[in-house]
């Protein structure tokens, strides 16, 4: 179980880092997503647009 957890640690860091760092890029590089629904943007990210 411990080795399984260790196996997922590194990919989890990469995926998590990629998701967090791509948040402002997603907002700055386009005005909306592909499909017709979007969650409420948090205030910290709205500040990054400004």
């Amino acid at each position: 179980m411990k080795t399984l957890k260790k196996l997922f640690n590194k990919p989890s860091h990469w995926v998590c880092g990629a998701l967090i760092s791509s948040a402002p890029i997603l907002l700055l590089d386009g005005v909306c997503l592909i499909f017709w629904g979007e969650p409420e943007c948090p205030d910290c990210l709205k500040q990054e647009i400004k």
Binding site: H13, L19, G30, E38, P39, I49
Partner: protein, 194 residues
């Protein structure tokens, strides 16, 4: 179901990574977007695969990804409402060209209509995002006009290709949807003043 997946993934990432409050907020936002979009995409791949229109759907999807990212438009609040609207949009783009055969002149008119709509109305950012600067809006407007022009130019070289025709109708419907979005915003402004 999507909320369950998002919460599970959020719990997994927050326990395996040391994140501050700001990073947790960004992670939650991105997980919501990624999971919802992937679920919608998978549902549509299954649906269009079952009606033997998978390749048409993929062509329309690529075009929509390019054009909607820069031009924006309407937004639906619920997950299933969004899925239903998106499916309807793609079904219209795939089946309407067969019902309304158009010649060369017709495509020129559709191009002028789409380009004019993008020039006057695009971009229509999501209200959930906040305010973009006028420079950013001009940049997105130009990109949406260039994308529409590029798609129409490709069609000129291969007028009988059904997939390129689907492409064009995606742009036309996106333009119509921009008009609807503009109409809704103006109506809401009038309501506020009254």
């Amino acid at each position: 179901m999507n909320t369950l997946i998002i919460n599970k993934l959020y719990g997994f990432f927050t326990t395996t990574n040391e994140l501050d409050d700001l990073e947790k907020v960004k992670l939650q936002y991105m997980l919501t977007i990624v999971v919802n979009e992937i679920l919608k995409l998978v549902a549509m791949l299954i649906f269009f695969g079952s009606i033997d229109k998978l390749f048409n759907f993929l062509i329309c999807f690529i075009t929509l990804t390019l054009i909607r990212n820069f031009s924006g438009g309407l937004h639906i609040k619920s997950f299933f409402g969004c899925l239903f609207f998106t499916c309807s949009f793609f079904l219209a783009s795939i089946y309407i060209p067969a019902l309304i055969p158009i010649n060369y002149m017709g495509y020129i008119i559709l191009y002028i209509f789409s380009l004019t709509t993008m020039a006057l109305i695009a971009p229509k950012p999501s209200k959930q995002r906040g305010e973009y600067s006028s420079y950013q809006k001009q940049k997105f407007k130009l990109k949406s006009m260039i994308t529409a022009t590029f798609c129409f130019l490709i069609l000129l070289f291969k007028m009988n290709n059904p997939y390129l025709i689907n492409n064009i109708w995606v742009i036309v419907f996106q333009s119509i949807q921009l008009l609807l979005s503009e109409g809704r915003d103006r109506y809401e402004n009038i309501k506020k003043t009254i």
